[in-house]
């Protein structure tokens, strides 16, 4: 009788954070690729580019001049998606199918380093530490502003991911609303916490309740190193290709020793350990196809606690970082998440276990240093 083999038989897995499914077609990796390939990356970049609006001392698109910053540097986006002043009250919608909500907030650009030619994968752990400290400081200051409910930290890395400038930088959009994905994940975490018996070994959430991601980390840690989906772990954090990964080499990075709700709660050791794991993950990414690996990265955490409607029920949120990288087969062949994926559900070819094994096999030493 045939036995189910997840690396051979098509199947669906469930994403407990988003309540979506992913269709896995492992036999499909053999498919030849005849479609569009991405332009190869340009060669070595200069350490300072006179034409770059993010380099120290240069002029920005809005006309302002960057200072001669020496570590990180944050400034408000010249083309912010939200504005700081609350917009006028919206009229009540003509119909429930046409609802509209005002929104305000701030969009910050965070330059990770003065050098034009670096990236998270090329920063020292000390420099990474400064990036994390900068995120924490923006999180704190934006959280304390009028009506801000969520601080979304993210990075678009690489031209393939819509990034218009290779100078290492990310963004922070602070909003007067909890965005869809954060709110979906939060609802899942609450639901899980209410409907699941408390775990025996995993750390617990507030009031001894089970936490979805504490439990998931515990579960992944129970597999032997070659069996599971963990790519790399250190003292405080682990990086895993989640059971329900959508992107070919997607990873989830999370603290596994205790229930941490947002980056402002991280203790010094946890910050240092986060710098270490970010370095290890992004270095392995670059090593996978010997290129500056493109991705979108986003930090999910607790909605800010200062607002009236953000009470202790949100304490169940567990801080985590998503990496969504598009490459599938090489530095120029990506996975297109199109037709079926846009209209039906996520679909992937290689299994999360295979992706994890390949990332585990990559070195922690960057190929350019090798």
């Amino acid at each position: 009788e045939l036995v189910f083999d997840p690396s051979a038989h098509p199947h669906r897995r469930w994403n407990p954070l988003t309540n979506e499914h992913v269709l896995i077609s492992p036999h499909r990796m053999k498919r030849p690729w005849l479609g569009q390939t991405e332009p190869p990356q340009v060669g070595a970049l200069p350490q300072h580019d006179p034409g770059c609006y993010l380099c120290p001392g240069n002029k920005r698109a809005g006309g302002e001049q960057n200072p001669d910053y020496t570590k990180t540097y944050t400034f408000p986006n010249d083309f912010a998606a939200v504005l700081s002043h609350p917009t006028p009250d919206v009229p009540s919608p003509p119909h429930p199918l046409m609802t509209v909500q005002p929104v305000h907030g701030a969009c910050d650009v965070v330059i990770f380093h003065p050098r034009h030619d670096l990236a998270l994968a090329r920063l020292s752990n000390d420099d990474l530490l400064r990036v994390i400290e900068e995120w924490v400081s923006i999180y704190k200051s934006r959280s304390s502003q009028d009506g801000i409910k969520y601080v979304q930290i993210f990075e678009n890395k690489g031209a393939m991911m819509g990034c218009s400038n290779p100078h290492p930088h990310g963004q922070v959009w602070s909003l007067s609303a909890v965005p869809t994905m954060a709110s979906t994940e939060l609802a899942s975490m609450k639901q899980y916490s209410l409907s699941t018996p408390p775990p025996s070994t995993a750390p617990k959430g507030p009031e001894g309740r089970p936490c979805l991601l504490c439990d998931y980390a515990d579960l992944e840690l129970s597999f032997t190193e070659n069996e599971g989906r963990i790519v790399v772990k250190n003292d405080k954090w682990l990086a895993v290709v989640p059971w329900w990964a959508t992107w070919p080499f997607e990873t989830l990075v999370l603290p596994y020793r205790r229930h941490v709700q947002d980056i402002s709660q991280l203790e010094d050791e946890e910050v240092a350990s986060l710098a270490d794991i970010l370095s290890r993950v992004t270095t392995r990414y670059d090593n996978l196809f010997s290129c500056s690996f493109p991705y979108s990265m986003g930090i999910h955490q607790r909605p800010v606690s200062s607002t009236a409607d953000s009470g202790p029920e949100h304490d169940i949120a567990h801080l985590h970082i998503h990496f969504s990288p598009p490459l599938l087969r090489s530095a120029t062949v990506k996975k297109f998440l199109v037709g079926f994926e846009l209209m039906a559900e996520a679909q992937r070819d290689l299994t999360p276990e295979q992706a994890a094994a390949r990332l585990r096999a990559c070195s922690d030493v960057h190929y350019l240093d090798g």
Copy 2:
């Protein structure tokens, strides 16, 4: 006192089909684009390409030879994402966070026309009629197969949307599971139907209950031509940039005269009228930036009715077609749905009203025929 102006003030709209929000930043259209542009489209294509595995008489990737077909032609995908034989039973998951479901089905490729150089926008209404008839016939035959619960018809058009061959074709994936998006939309339609008072003017769903999309069509029809979001309408169908559109020039195409659940229920006149509206929508798309406009297209409808767990409660489903096109500013500048969009929620710059006005201003006559 300031009055809310949706074409000037950032705001959020709610998508009642998916229960997600979209962040609208109309003031952001002025942003210069310095990022990656897409390769320009190749010039005129030959009517028959000896190297194309979809042209009549040519060999396919799997080695088989295409017949000398003269209208549409359907064959099973040589690299199907699901297989026809049910996979072995899956063991019960070690933990609720690691659930897995077997899945089986069929992946068909539907060639729209023997000519290599055409596209839906370049087909006559008679040829479009044949495409629709082919979809209906696949829908019927696949629905009657063992365990099939959903038939997902879609098209990836253009290299930018991961399509590896310009020969006009689409796909049909028939699955033993209702995919995430169809099931989310269905849940929204059920919920709406139960919680909304019956409409006065719109067609009604089963048992006189209100239908989300019948009501939405009715609402859009109540606006004057220049005020609303309707791009084009004919006797039976309308095409609208929905209030909650994510993609810059996204459209929703739906029958508005009566509650139609799936394509097999379409009457002759409705099929002819669908051919007409598909031609008008895709022609306007091509005319917008004078190019062969890339998009992903998908048909959403009722799960198939033959299976035991697909009872009359699914009759509330209303047939509709989504077009998700990536271009934003020109034939080579697309909107990247990346960082914030992947990690937080959809974000758009031009408003749905502005997009609809621009598509309305495009001619129904194709620019290559002009």
